[in-house]
């Protein structure tokens, strides 16, 4: 007990001594792990480069200004591709995520012992693997281009959308569903009158939210050849065309800011 009485003096501490020692012990372990990891990273680092990096950074920044504005003409199509990758990828993901979410939600899954674990496994594997890795795989399998990017974004987003969606389905108010059931509605009617109206706002929110993330992610897919503005970024960096690089960064910044603004507007309009 944190409160104790000794010789008539009541003392109070937040934690008892063993609790406190345990806490210190955990802190110690945490710090030890951190230092251990740090040492291993530090071993693999050439500190001379790091010390030199401020000068390098300034040098790089100097070579980046002014951005080569006339290069913009060649960037419109990549930007268009980037947006398409994000949009079409999100649509693809949502189409696949909806049935998976219904299979994964405890209250709507057709079978808890068989279907639900499979759905959960699909969700976890899709979420564990970054879209860039999906893109890397798909470029190897179906060749470079926007199509690989769309599929990569789609595959990565299935898990994200399905997870948030099935959590929303599990949180619905069962009374409303019961009330619909009590009218003698069929399974499909129960779904469309009892469940869908309840998850609609969450669903719309999730889609827009993911679209916003996907814009950001699709800017880099080009690095492995899956289309979009990343392709130009990669080639500009490898040819050391720093003024083009800075322009591309500005364009990415602009695209992301605009997409954030759009998604905020849409979410505001829906909710």
């Amino acid at each position: 007990m944190p409160s104790s009485e000794q010789n008539g003096i009541k003392s109070w501490q937040l934690r008892t001594r063993p609790e406190q020692l345990l806490r210190w012990f955990f802190w110690l372990i945490g710090i030890a792990i951190f230092l251990f990891c740090w040492r291993l990273i530090s071993e693999k680092t050439i500190w001379m480069f790091v010390e030199d990096s401020p000068r390098q950074a300034i040098d790089m920044a100097e070579r980046m200004v002014p951005p080569k504005w006339e290069y913009m003409g060649k960037l419109w199509i990549p930007v268009w591709d980037t947006i398409n990758i994000a949009t079409l990828g999100t649509m693809l993901a949502i189409l696949i995520a909806i049935p998976i979410a219904f299979c994964a939600a405890r209250n709507t899954s057709p079978s808890l012992t068989f279907v639900r674990p499979i759905a959960l496994f699909i969700i976890v594997s899709s979420r564990s693997i970054n879209s860039l890795i999906w893109a890397l795989m798909l470029v190897t399998l179906i060749g470079p281009g926007v199509f690989a990017g769309v599929i990569a974004i789609g595959l990565r987003s299935i898990g994200f959308c399905a997870k948030l969606l099935y959590e929303a389905i599990e949180e619905i108010d069962p009374n409303q569903v019961e009330a619909i059931e009590a009218t003698g509605a069929s399974k499909a009617q129960k779904l469309s009158y009892g469940i869908v109206p309840q998850i609609m706002p969450a669903f719309a929110g999730i889609s827009v939210f993911r679209w916003d993330i996907n814009i950001r992610e699709s800017t880099v897919l080009g690095l492995v050849g899956a289309g979009g503005i990343g392709l130009q970024l990669d080639s500009s960096i490898s040819t050391l065309a720093w003024t083009q690089v800075s322009l591309i960064l500005i364009v990415i910044l602009g695209t992301v800011v605009v997409s954030e603004w759009v998604s905020a507007k849409i979410r505001h309009a829906i909710i």
């Binding site: 009541k10 109070w12 937040l14």
Partner: protein
Amino acid sequence: MLRIDKLVKQYKTGDIALKGVSLEIPKGQVLALIGPSGAGKSTVIRCVNRLVEPTEGKIWLNDLELVSLSSAALRRARRRMGMIFQEYALVERLSVMENVLSGRLGYVGFWRSFFRKYPQNDINEAYRLLERVELDHMADKRADELSGGQRQRIGICRALIQNPDLLLVDEPTASLDPKTSRQIMRLICDLCQERQLAAIINIHDVHLAQMFAKRIVGLQEGKIVYDGPPDSLTPDVLTQIYGEEDWEATIEEVEDEEEIEIAMETAGASS
């Protein structure tokens, strides 16, 4: 003891909450501040400890002028004023004891408070107060495990452990049931008497105010419209404060507390 002189508060929105309020409260007096919502009751007491910055006017606590204090001096002055809140305002994730001891924050240094190593005197005082409100067995419970009435009593302990000269009490009974409300009001008044504390109690329940306070101040649209003993609070005065309404039932002479309690309970049972 406390002297408020021509207090004016204009919010950023342009609303003028107080239009020159002057009040003087001697040591040991319990004053009830009544008035409709939006009359400026909360603003008055929040100006006193400057949780709200007054626009104009002066406030003296003993010989100390509060409005012109610098932030460090203000902190020292706040130690002399205990505040009790409407929704108890306990920090819900801290234990009861931590909540009570947080009243000593103005007196102890940062590291002491960070490691919860309070002086033994403070801990003794905390236990004394908890015993006084009959909650010493709850010391190690988390604040969100307590009922409303218990929370408010802990709130009172937190205010009193500051060893204040003045209590600022903001709607102490607004979220409590009638019986607990009376117990809390009685507790506050008893404690004020025991310790010779002055208190300003904001309260919207005229009946409770009449029952417990020796002096009543009526506030209407930021101006004082009544200042006097509870028994000369006539229907005319109430109409002036609150507007037209049948007041006879509200100010029915209160003879015996016991009787009211029974009357209330039977009313509750019949409804």
